[in-house]
């Protein structure tokens, strides 16, 4: 019979701890018998039928004892593992109930989630009502997912433990023909329960719910033994992802170094002559390895710098290495900004962006603290997509095509959602994006539920849409900054040029004074929006810190390069 929510809410970890202790004692006592068996032999000169019968009996007893030791060992191992798993279930139940409590939801005895609001679309529903209803439904769904994963975990441990215990009951565990210690080792293997794998193709909410069912020991096991399960799994907390990704990075570094050395050695025959055929056969692979080596070196350097860094993703399976790296702690920060760089960005060259994000983090924190708020900030550089490079052909990652942005947008959306679902309470989340990265963020926000509170696009060739309403950003919380002499910002290649996008708020990029009288330095061109101390950086710090009202509004519109309806003199009735 399937387990119910009522069943699992009554589960407790304590009985397993007691059973674990008793089985440990029993196993130890039985293993102590090994010495007695070793010394227990037949008298040296005793022969005849009685001696043979006695010998046979001793052999049978020893066989039985090995089986019993193996069974006790299996039971002990299974109960240990089950204790961890049950602790995970208990934690998941607690987390689901906490989530429900925080969000004013009610979990029924049958595991159904209810709310006092009527979550149906009405004919007179306003856009704001619709947004609120969908947000509320998302909370109900997330709570239901947490419950479902807790039950999936409970079913899994119930089935696994039941199988081991049935095996013991039916004497299916054979202790072998070796020593009692060897029999115990056999039992350990037989009693080993598998850790529940993540939901295949899981959504960030499902992944978060799965991870919530893991006990601390199970998490440590997954991080050490299966880092690939969680390194890039949106919905898993940042600290765990960071640990897993550092393990993956270590493994890949070793692979790259070894393989490059192999190829280099292989280029020369034993007599020292150059093997041209070998060289050309491995040239492409060597080029890829060199790219990976450069990317790994940059990541190593960034992670080695002081301060808190989190490696939230690394992917060597793509043509160019992809990575996500954070300054600060994404799990605990009050404000999180996720920055998507654009054209020509590579992991090997992402150090400058990381520097900009480090500065933005502290600028934002200083601004908050100076005004009397003690909010903490984390800034993420998200390069988990194939940012186009100059000279690439008209393939999916060409500068001129949207394929890379669309694919990246799907993954970026999941990453943003994952930040929210990995935490019990959502952080204040801002999307920042430059150049082609803004197209990627634009596509990401066309997926429902990305969950950003604000978005700042700058130097954008288009957001992949002609309508701001297509982006899942709260009303009035989408910002665009374009500097003078930024040709990319005037391309309008992917949807409407954001300078002319109706409803978007414009941020000043030239020399300007903020409302409190401070003066900031302007930037020009395509590449300096994040310059430290600049007007645009100041405004981003205000937006990221939750004070967009203090950002500096303004518009740098080119007379010939921007759309007519973006010009200040263009009549409103024609817009």
């Amino acid at each position: 019979m399937a387990l119910t929510w009522r069943d699992v809410t009554s589960w407790s970890h304590a009985p397993f701890a007691t059973a674990e202790e008793e089985l440990r004692t029993t196993r130890r006592d039985m293993l102590d018998l090994a010495d007695e068996l070793a010394t227990m032999g037949l008298p040296r000169h005793w022969t005849g039928s009685a001696a043979r019968a006695s010998g046979n009996r001793l052999t049978a007893v020893t066989d039985d004892l090995r089986d019993v030791v193996a069974e006790v060992s299996a039971a002990y191992t299974a109960v240990c593992d089950a204790a961890d798993a049950v602790l995970g279930v208990v934690n998941a139940v607690d987390a689901a109930q906490e989530y429900a409590g925080i969000n004013g939801l009610v979990i029924g005895a049958d595991g159904g989630v209810s709310t006092t609001e009527l979550l149906v679309c009405t004919i007179d529903e306003t856009e704001a009502d619709g947004d609120a209803r969908r947000a509320r439904q998302a909370q109900v769904d997330e709570c239901a997912t947490r419950i479902a994963e807790a039950l999936r975990k409970a079913e899994d441990v119930d089935a696994d433990l039941g199988a081991v215990l049935r095996g013991i009951e039916k004497n299916r565990i054979d202790g072998g023909a070796g020593t009692l210690a060897q029999a115990s080792a056999i039992g350990e293997v037989e009693g080993d329960l598998t850790v529940l794998k993540p939901p295949p193709g899981g959504t960030p909410a499902e992944n978060a719910a799965w991870w919530a069912t893991m006990s601390p020991d199970e998490r440590a096991f997954v991080i050490a033994q299966h880092p690939g399960w969680i390194g890039s799994r949106d919905g898993v907390d940042a600290v765990s992802r960071d640990l897993a990704n550092r393990t993956l990075l270590d493994a890949r570094r070793t692979h790259v170094e070894d393989r490059m050395a192999e190829i280099e050695a292989g280029c020369f025959r034993p007599d020292g002559s150059f093997d041209e055929a070998f060289y050309w056969k491995h040239a492409a692979e060597y080029t890829d390895l060199t790219e990976e080596q450069g990317a790994i070196a940059t990541l190593d350097e960034m992670l080695a710098r002081p301060g808190e860094h989190q490696l939230l993703g690394v992917d060597f399976t793509t043509p160019r290495t992809q990575a996500i790296i954070a300054n600060g702690n994404v799990d605990t920060a009050d404000h999180v900004a996720v920055f998507t760089p654009g054209l020509t960005s590579t992991v090997e060259g992402m150090g400058g962006y990381d520097s900009s994000m480090a500065q933005l983090m502290t600028r934002t924190e200083d601004e908050l603290f100076r005004r009397g708020e003690a909010g903490t900030v984390a800034t993420v550089t998200w390069l988990d997509y194939q940012a186009p490079q100059w000279g690439t052909t008209f393939a999916g990652d060409s500068v001129a095509l949207s394929g890379s942005a669309e694919d990246g947008g799907r993954d970026l959306s999941a990453f943003l959602t994952g930040i929210n679902t990995s935490r019990m309470t959502d952080p204040d989340l801002t999307g920042l994006a430059h150049s082609y990265g803004s197209t990627t963020l634009g596509y990401a926000l066309q997926h429902e539920g990305a969950g950003v509170d604000r978005a700042v696009f700058f130097g954008s060739p288009g957001l992949g849409t002609d309508e701001l309403d297509n982006l899942d950003v709260p009303g009035g919380a989408a910002y665009y900054a374009e500097a003078k002499w930024d040709p990319v910002g005037d391309l309008g290649r992917f949807g409407t040029d954001p300078s002319g996008l109706e409803g978007i708020a414009h941020l000043e990029t030239g020399d300007a004074a903020s409302g409190d009288g401070r003066s900031w330095e302007g930037v020009t061109g395509h590449s300096d929006y994040l310059q430290d101390g600049s007007t645009s950086q100041y405004s981003m710090a205000q937006v990221v810190g939750g004070h967009p009202e203090d950002a500096i509004e303004g518009k740098n519109v080119g007379l010939l390069t921007d759309p007519l309806d973006a010009q200040d003199w263009w009549p409103d009735f024609l817009r």
Partner: protein
């Protein structure tokens, strides 16, 4: 790797190496370790100078810290071992009172000048809110501001690890 192989592989992979001028520029600066030591000392002195004038300031941390380290921006982004740091005083609860600000700022300027910081940029100097920056010859910025609370940070220039 043999020299021959290295050359061949470098040609094959289009390896261009780092910017030599940028490296030389960084080599003429203090090392990153020296910059870190100096900037932490500077912030310690800034804290002391501010607290002497405004004893009510309550610092959040026992001492200044390196908030973050990172690689560098252009033109130093391709230089091996190039590093930039942001250092924080920790921040203090409470403001430097308006009446005391001129004296406090003079004291800060004095300790900063001793460590090579000048080139004063006043962002704001009004009742209830003051924010000023000083820069050293490499471009490191000492930013000091007071409003509801008081902050002092160094946004460090690029230096070389060696």
């Amino acid at each position: 790797m043999t020299v021959t192989t290295a050359v061949l592989m470098a040609l094959l992979t289009g390896c261009t190496g780092e910017n030599v001028d940028a490296r030389q520029q960084l080599e003429s600066r203090r090392s990153s370790a020296e910059a870190e030591r100096d900037n932490l000392a500077l912030l310690t002195e800034v804290r002391a100078a501010l607290s002497e004038v405004a004893p009510a300031l309550e610092w959040r941390s026992p001492a200044p810290t390196v908030e973050s380290g990172s690689l560098c921006k252009k033109p130093f982004d391709r230089v091996d071992g190039a590093t930039a740091q942001v250092l924080q005083s920790g921040g203090a609860f409470g403001p430097v009172p308006d009446a005391d600000w001129p004296r406090a700022w003079e004291a800060v300027k004095k300790v900063a000048a001793a460590r090579g910081f000048g080139d004063e940029h006043t962002l704001k100097d009004e009742p209830g809110e003051h924010q000023v920056s000083l820069y050293d010859k490499d471009g490191s910025e000492l930013s000091v501001g007071t409003g509801v609370n008081t902050v002092a940070s160094v946004y460090g220039a690029c230096h070389l690890e060696r």
